[in-house]
């Protein structure tokens, strides 16, 4: 498992956890058919938290964060994001999705649009931003992820790491208050993982609320304020990183850590 070392100094001045509750999940269960994929999930995420969710494959981590922006539907329990409860009411779903940004494992950039158009699509059609303003915002975020010169190229012409950074910028253009990351570096070649992790660290340094599903434990140790371990669809253990890595309490956690950190 890749475990890129983070060897930069982290500026923690803005990484404040406030008391405001960003996400609240109560008693949430989800089934795929008869398969009970998420079992009795209880979770409270406060604004400014940087949470890393780890666990073996099939443990339901991706499904959990996909439930937060309603890419998956939960069957029982409550999910409240930024004060809005997620139900089948379309207006609520729209509201939540414009506050929550998501970065996918396979980037999912729109190949028929330029980088700039990828970033301005949602602001223009969802927030009804005028085109020039949307482009200005997009260039601002493309500069932030350090690829402004690629604005007029197409995704097929970029490397994997560049594409993922564009994906991050694209989500940021909607000015979300919460960012979800679903294994953002798993599909990247090793030499490109660092550039994407650097971008995520800068995002964290600015105080963004982040939920990151990843195997990059170096990132967790450097930036996260909470690590959650999931197995078999339930939260098994959570703690702040130093305690989590040095002093795992559950047997399953210990087994998992030995597998991914052992090599």
């Amino acid at each position: 498992m890749p475990n890129t070392a983070i060897d930069r100094t982290i500026d923690r001045s803005q990484m404040q956890v406030s008391d405001e509750i960003a996400i609240e999940i109560t008693g949430m269960n989800k089934w795929f058919g008869t398969f009970h994929v998420l079992r009795d999930i209880d979770l409270v995420v406060q604004r400014g938290e940087r949470i890393v969710i780890a666990g073996p494959s099939g443990s339901g981590k991706s499904t959990l964060i996909r439930c937060i922006n309603r890419l998956e539907e939960h069957q029982t329990g409550r999910i409240v994001v930024d004060g809005t409860e997620l139900t089948s009411d379309l207006k609520n779903i729209d509201k939540v999705r414009s506050e929550v940004g998501m970065v996918f494992q396979h980037f999912n950039l729109f190949p028929h649009l330029t980088i700039l158009e990828n970033c301005t699509l949602a602001p223009i059609w969802v927030r009804k931003t005028p085109k020039k303003e949307a482009e200005a915002i997009a260039m601002q975020y493309l500069e932030k992820v350090r690829i402004p010169e690629q604005a007029h190229k197409f995704p097929g012409q970029l490397s994997g790491g560049q594409q993922q950074r564009v994906a991050i910028a694209r989500s940021l253009c909607m000015r979300p208050r919460i960012m979800l990351f679903d294994e953002p570096t798993s599909a990247l070649d090793p030499e490109m993982i660092k550039e994407v992790l650097d971008t995520m660290i800068e995002l964290a340094q600015e105080g963004m609320t982040m939920l990151v599903v990843t195997h990059e434990m170096g990132f967790a140790q450097a930036v996260a304020n909470r690590v959650i371990f999931m197995d078999q669809g339930q939260i098994v253990e959570q703690n702040e990183p130093r305690e989590f890595f040095n002093n795992p309490k559950s047997e399953r956690t210990k087994l998992f850590l030995s597998q991914i950190l052992g090599h």
């Binding site: 058919g33 079992r39 979770l43 078999q232 703690n239 559950s250």
Partner: protein, 485 residues
């Protein structure tokens, strides 16, 4: 339930939760109904319309099918029976026509005491194709061939070959073939080479020396190849093509005449104009596809070639064939081929049609193989070059086997299309099962005016055949995807 995990609160679960059953609406038949039939206003409306369409179809077709008459000797008699059984004005299906004339649809006017020959030829086709199409596991191959053998034996017993001795001989030969296929499947590739000549002899009959002399041409070609291998790939290929040509054009005729005169061995001959029905369709279709494969591969290679002239000629040929309707090519076969060949040559209409169908199929196969070659990673070509192989060696040993394997689904699709197109031969006077035989049947006063039953019968056979082939090709495609990725 433990305290809720909040920020900064360490938490450990002490008891893993077991799986629970989903709530009633979340799974099971109600959920299925909710998601698949009534998933929203539009979908619900569509479901209702769908149900109405199904009901309408059933109420239109069911009475006609229920009032079916299977035994009658004419359409008039059929109608009388239907009126008597189900009242005046009732409509019903007169399947009696199929009952009486089904052999015509299948065999055309082939002599009925010789039906076992085309049946045997079709059964042996499976043996010839087995290494290619069912090559995945021995068990699948043997299962398929076992079923084929059983069916063949049953059919031959039904039809009778004319003497009990030949029945037994055939049975023994089949069992021997099965045994060879099981033990040393690679030997059966020889049978694939022999099969075309054997099938030709079975279908058309005549002296055994004709197919044997033609087969000898292949032997001549192989010998020429071996003899000239030392001079390089290109010379060898040219020799392998030229030598059999010389044999077939100049030597074969006299040799055949001499052999036939001194040692006549023959089975009853069947003239081409007796061929009809599905026997005709299958003959044209299968020979067309089989012969179009080598030509199609050459065209595909030519199209990818760097040599301007070769590429232009290949592209020109392919685009010409794909640009004209098959009917035009069939008319060329029947009207024009005589102009293009030396004065005095006049040969079988079926052979002429097969030639045009072969050229037609070759253009489409060329495109399929071109796709297969393009799907091959560049690394394969480069590896072959790095190993020091010349062009033809690389093609023969590395490139083509893989490209052809990828192309098999496309080749099966082309065959399905070709098989459907064999119904067009009616327009050059041949008796295809669809219009040719049906018109012949409708010409007799007994069955004048019938149309649903024969068309449905022939259509159903085409459907079963083509649908099975397309399912098989999709299965192959799925297998190939998992093999490669």
């Amino acid at each position: 339930m433990n305290t809720r995990p909040g920020a900064g609160q360490p938490y450990v679960r002490d008891q893993m939760l077991a799986e629970k059953a989903p709530p009633i609406l979340a799974a099971g038949p109600l959920k299925w109904a909710r998601e698949n039939l009534f998933a929203g206003p539009v979908n619900s409306a569509l479901t209702v319309i769908g149900v109405l369409v199904v009901l309408w179809g059933v109420q239109a077709a069911y009475p006609w099918l229920r009032h079916s008459v299977w035994t009658a000797s004419s359409l008039g008699e059929c109608r009388a029976i239907i009126a008597a059984s189900w009242g005046e004005g009732a409509s019903g299906a007169c399947w009696a026509i199929i009952n009486e004339r089904w052999t015509q649809f299948i065999y055309g006017f082939y002599p009925s005491h010789l039906y076992w020959r085309p049946v045997l030829a079709l059964g042996l086709l499976f043996f010839a194709l087995a290494p290619l199409l069912f090559g995945e596991t021995v068990r699948i191959r043997m299962a398929v061939l076992g079923v084929v053998t059983l069916l063949l034996v049953a059919a031959l017993v039904q039809l009778g070959t004319g003497s009990g001795l030949s029945d037994l001989a055939l049975l023994a030969a089949l069992l021997a073939a099965l045994w060879v296929m099981w033990k040393t499947p690679s030997r059966m590739l020889w049978f694939a080479v022999l099969y075309p000549f054997l099938a030709f002899w079975l279908m058309w009959g005549g002296s055994i020396w004709l197919p044997l002399v033609a087969l000898a041409g292949l032997g001549v070609g192989w010998l020429a190849l071996r003899a000239t291998l030392g001079f390089g790939g290109l010379v060898a290929i040219v020799a392998a093509i030229v030598a059999p040509l010389i044999w077939w054009l100049f030597v074969a005729g006299p040799v055949f005449a001499w052999l036939d005169a001194s040692l006549p061995v023959a089975i009853e001959a069947v003239r081409s104009d007796k061929f009809g029905g599905f026997v005709l369709s299958l003959t044209i279709g299968i020979s067309g596809i089989a012969m179009s494969l080598p030509l199609g591969i050459l065209l595909a290679l030519g199209r990818r070639s760097d040599m301007f002239l070769v590429k232009t000629l290949s592209v020109g040929f392919i685009e010409f064939i794909r640009g004209v309707p098959l009917i035009a090519l069939l008319f060329t076969a029947s009207l024009l081929l005589n102009y293009f060949l030396p004065p005095g040559t006049n040969f079988d209409i079926i052979l002429r049609v097969v030639i045009m169908v072969t050229l037609f199929a070759a253009a489409y196969i060329a495109e399929v193989v071109r796709g297969g070659l393009a799907a091959l990673p560049r690394g394969q070509f480069e590896a072959a070059d790095a190993l020091g192989m010349d062009y033809w060696q690389a093609q023969r040993l590395i490139v083509l086997p893989q490209a052809l394997k990828i192309s098999i689904p496309g080749i099966v699709s082309t065959f399905i299309g070709l098989f459907k197109d064999t119904t067009l031969v009616v327009f050059v006077g041949l008796l295809d099962p669809l219009k040719g035989i049906t018109d012949a049947v409708r010409a007799s006063p007994d069955w004048k005016g019938v149309y649903w039953e024969p068309y449905l019968f022939v259509g159903a056979i085409f459907f079963i055949f083509n649908f099975s082939m397309s399912r098989y090709s999709m299965y192959l495609e799925r297998k190939l995807k998992t093999d490669h990725s």
